[in-house]
């Protein structure tokens, strides 16, 4: 029982620490590319909190939903980070994809 409580504490506070560090990191860095790096630990935080809920509640309805949320965030967050980075790059420098009839310009040195 004590081991279980310790495990819940460890996973819960590890998750909380990851969330807080990510949020502070997002504020500390100004560039979108730097900020996107700090959204990754949030997924680890979600996994840690889901593990803590499962240990605390056994596989109850709440625990199953916590697992569902963690799995969803694990799959969807990288997609969103990639799309955000792509949009930021697109907004800065325009579309990088070339048309089929467009030739590559090579600078001669």
């Amino acid at each position: 029982m004590i081991v279980r409580q310790v495990a819940v504490n460890v996973f819960l506070w590890l998750g909380v620490a990851l969330v807080v560090i990510s949020c502070v990191g997002v504020l500390a860095f100004g560039s979108v590319y730097d900020r996107l790096h700090f959204t990754a630990p949030l997924n680890l935080g979600a996994i840690c909190i889901a593990i803590a809920v499962v240990i605390h509640e056994d596989f109850s309805l709440v625990a199953n939903k916590a697992i569902l949320i963690a799995v969803f965030l694990l799959v969807a967050s990288p997609v969103l980070a990639l799309a955000t980075g792509r949009a930021a790059r697109h907004a800065e420098r325009g579309d990088w994809r070339m048309g089929a009839d467009e030739e590559i310009e090579v600078e001669e040195r």
């Binding site: 997002v26 709440v62 907004a91």
Partner: protein, 85 residues
């Protein structure tokens, strides 16, 4: 105070920098901060659900997670098209 409620309060305090980051810099940087704030809010709802033994909070988190990600993806599309105009 249970550890779950304490964890919720700690994460809520940690969410303040992410929300503050949402009102600075350019739109893309704000969007990255919004992603972090959305995921943080989902996790706060999960811990609150365990703290108060209310299943409704975790249901809210299950709904909020896809909405936060989907909303950000919609904004990403807008951001991509912004330059073309």
């Amino acid at each position: 105070m249970s550890i779950w409620l304490a964890a919720s309060i700690a994460m809520l305090a940690g969410l303040v920098p992410a929300v503050a980051a949402c009102i600075r810099r350019d739109a893309a940087a704000m969007l990255a901060a919004l992603n972090a704030a959305g995921v943080g809010t989902v996790l706060i709802l999960v811990t609150l659900s365990v703290a108060f033994s209310r299943q409704a909070f975790v249901d809210l988190a299950v709904v909020l997670a896809p909405l936060a990600i989907g909303g950000s993806l919609a904004f990403v599309r807008y951001l991509e098209r912004q330059r073309d105009r």
